[in-house]
């Protein structure tokens, strides 16, 4: 795989990796009294491992020019494998956390395994590890196909993919050591944040450079969404993580914001992370894989336009609905709530556009579990956005806020929408990428589908019940005018639902394990190499035009 790099790309890779190693060494020395030092060592080891990898193939013959007539899919393949590894790891930790709520002693008396540390390890592993790798992998795949252009070079996609995974490793290991900014979904500290900024800018540049060379007159909808995802996440990440480190030898930093401004910035970030990472990016995925798998045209181009601009414009205002009835001024809450209500319309237009696209292909939904994953995703996208707009209404929020209903809502979105569309897209692309006729076992895809659906429903129903019961118990008064229930009584009442939730999570995890096995066997089993998609080639440059790479 590394041998696919040209000589100059191998040299560039060595320079980058050497710089990374030196950075790691500097961090390890400056932070030797601090968890920063451990992270420095990890960065350094990553750099050294990379250098060895490149040196190993340094004198291999250069790849021939024929590669330029093909799409560059190696990073996508690796991204999909990494996504599945993170999925199993992240869901395992998630289910562990769920069981900790049933049996608090499951921390085994260690600090690193306490709820407060492994809970962010779960959220980051599934959102950033699983979701992020799936987005990077599929976006590069879709970008090339819908532009009919090969990626501009072979080094920047690796820089993005591996740099991003280094960020994920720093995040997860940091939480276990107690390194956190205490900002939900933005927990990693300043040095990891800086790494992500660099990675993300390169990611956006890959997109612009490829689109600039596209051979299609128009930019396809999926790319609008992928670009919105990359661009807005860059803005959100940069602003929310503005902070001053205690020193260059410490992991700890202090936010540039304080008090209610900090809370508002955090939830402007937090909700738009949901909007642009977990929605826009995966809508990009859906806009490619669903019509291709169904073999149907998108139902309405016009509805795509309304949805896209509606979603991108209105989501930006919605974050303050996370701070209803707080010190945040009421007018900000009003704006967050009303924009959240209006947001429902473009969201449902998107979900509707996806489901109406399936008209004429419903028999395929019945027979093909891969397409069924995508259909369930579209349905849960609709359900979750409805629930989200509903919960953003102040009076509803006064019941739902701080309860398990929120947890149920986020998992309806994360399991029902994000994971479902991802699994569907991965099952569609694995045979295409590895040139197989089909998945190793279609029966296992069915198993995965039903395990995932069973887990999803168990989880979400458990949390709806516990959330609403919890919310009602918290606000029940007795005839004396004092609260009827102490907090611990509400915790006791939640226990059966926590058991159900943990079982639901276990089913979903089992599905992901089955899926990983199936994907692995598809890759390992040398099936008949098929040219299933004969037209799966970029437009080659006419003679006389300079070669795309290297050094485009």
């Amino acid at each position: 795989m590394i041998a696919q790099l040209t000589k100059s790309e191998r040299q560039l890779a060595l320079i980058i990796l050497l710089a990374l190693t030196i950075c790691g060494l500097a961090m390890a020395i400056a932070g030797r009294q601090d968890p920063l030092g451990v992270h420095g060592a990890i960065v350094m080891l990553a750099g050294i491992a990379g250098i060895f990898g490149v040196i190993y193939v340094y004198y291999e013959p250069e790849p021939d020019e024929a590669r330029l007539a093909l799409y560059y899919d190696d990073p996508t393949k690796v991204a999909i494998i990494l996504a599945m590894i993170w999925a199993v790891l992240g869901m395992f930790i998630g289910d562990w956390v769920a069981w900790q709520l049933v049996f608090p002693n499951l921390t085994f008396d260690a600090s690193w395994s306490s709820f407060g540390r492994i809970r962010p390890a779960h959220t980051s592993a599934v959102i950033f590890g699983f979701g992020g790798n799936a987005l990077i992998g599929t976006s590069l795949y879709v970008l090339q196909r819908t532009s009919r252009a090969r990626l501009p070079d072979q080094i920047s996609p690796w820089f993005v993919l591996l740099g991003y995974n280094l960020f994920c490793v720093l995040a997860a290991t940091g939480y276990l050591m107690g390194v956190t900014q205490s900002k939900e979904y933005a927990e990693p500290e300043w040095y990891a944040d800086l790494l992500l900024v660099i990675v993300w800018v390169v990611y956006f540049i890959i997109y612009l450079r490829t689109l600039a060379r596209r051979k299609e007159p128009h930019i396809y909808v999926a790319n609008w969404y992928y670009m919105a995802f990359i661009l807005v996440v860059a803005i959100l990440h940069t602003v929310n993580n503005l902070a001053m480190p205690v020193s260059f030898g410490h992991a700890k930093s202090y936010s540039a914001f304080s008090g209610v401004q900090d809370a508002m910035t955090q939830w402007w970030y937090g909700h738009n992370a949901v909007a642009f990472f977990l929605t826009a990016g995966f809508l990009g995925m859906m806009y490619y894989y669903l019509p291709v798998r169904a073999g149907r045209p998108i139902y309405s181009y016009r509805m795509s336009i309304i949805s896209f601009w509606g979603i991108t414009f209105m989501y930006m205002w919605a974050g303050s609905h996370h701070l209803h009835y707080t010190a945040l001024p009421q007018w900000v809450q009003t704006l967050g709530m009303t924009f959240s209500v209006m947001l429902l319309v473009p969201s449902w237009a998107s979900a509707g556009n996806a489901l109406l696209t399936l008209n004429g292909a419903w028999y395929k939904v019945r027979d093909d579990a891969t397409l069924r994953f995508m259909m369930v995703a579209a349905v849960f996208y609709g359900l979750t956005t409805f629930e989200g707009s509903f919960m953003a209404i102040r009076s509803v929020n006064s019941l739902s806020h701080y309860t398990d209903w929120t947890v149920g809502h986020v998992h309806a979105g994360a399991l029902g929408w994000v994971a479902m569309i991802t699994f569907g897209s991965i099952y569609a692309s694995v045979p295409w990428l590895w040139k197989r006729e089909r998945m190793y076992s279609p029966a296992l895809v069915e198993w995965h589908f039903w395990l995932a659906v069973a887990g999803l429903f168990t989880y979400v129903f458990a949390m709806w019940n516990s959330g609403i019961i919890q919310g009602l118990m918290w606000r029940t008064y007795n005839d004396s005018g004092t609260l009827s229930y102490s907090f611990i009584e509400t915790v006791v009442a939640m226990k059966p639902y926590y058991v159900a939730r943990a079982i639901g999570g276990l089913l979903f995890l089992a599905g992901a394990v089955v899926g990983s096995y199936n994907i692995w066997m598809t890759i390992r089993t040398a099936g008949q190499p098929v040219d299933a998609r004969a037209a799966d080639l970029p437009v080659t440059q006419p003679a006389g035009v300079p070669a795309l790479q290297p050094g485009e």
């Binding site: 045209p297 016009r302 009421q330 319309v345 611990i488």
Partner: protein, 293 residues
Amino acid sequence: MAVEERDPVSGYLTTGHEWNGIKELNTPVPRVVYFFLWATFLYSVVYWILMPAWPLGVTYTKGLLGSDQRNIVAVQLKDATAERARWSKLIETESFEAIQADKRLMTIVRQTGATLFGDNCAACHGRTAEGGSGFPTLVSQAFLWGGTPDAIAETIRVGINSPHKDTRTSQMPAFGRDGMLKREQIDDVVDYVRSLSNPAVGKAIAPAKLASGKAVFTDNCVACHGENATGNIELGAPNLRDNFSIYGGDAQSVFTTVWGGRQGHMPSWDSRLSALDRKILALYLVNLRAAGP
């Protein structure tokens, strides 16, 4: 690519573009989408007119309804306090005996006390107030600092070995660790103390050892635990003749206590709970003990 291509299933024209096999229909946006866009926008405009909504530099549009969440919550708190004043005044002013005699007030004490106890005390004393290792049960007849409503209310107020200026203070010395007693002396006094609450233990021990233990007790322990080992409420020294123990009554636990000493800790609730809440809790606990096992 054909510009005029009609999809046979839906009957709509495509837009004429194709990306990697994906086409798009030029279907008009369904009217229902526009309807709901306008409906939700209209709802928002009405809401903005009625409620605080848009920033105007240093101020903001206040809304026709004049809604202000700070005022609302202030009024609600005032109303709730006023409603509770029906009975809270009585509990604050009446004597413990008078309240205990008033069935209606005791119903309120039981309702409110249970929540107060669950939110503030249960973390240490357990949800059923039966305590646990290191934390005393509150439903037994054994009270270190007295079990009257007055005494309990005072313990809640000042805490035990707490930073409060009036704190109840007690410390059992570490007789073994600090070298005050020899190992054999400790073994003997442990046997003797265990025999006080458990005659069966006494029978199994050689009379000479028991006598030695008693001598050690008389020299070292009576100052706090009393001549008869029945404890001293003034000092928070427990009665050693009953069957209750905070740290355990088996030989190993008693040995650990004599060897290393004990200094229990209870926080002061003076600044965290109102006098009313503390009074309710004291009454609740007395009531719980009376009703208990």
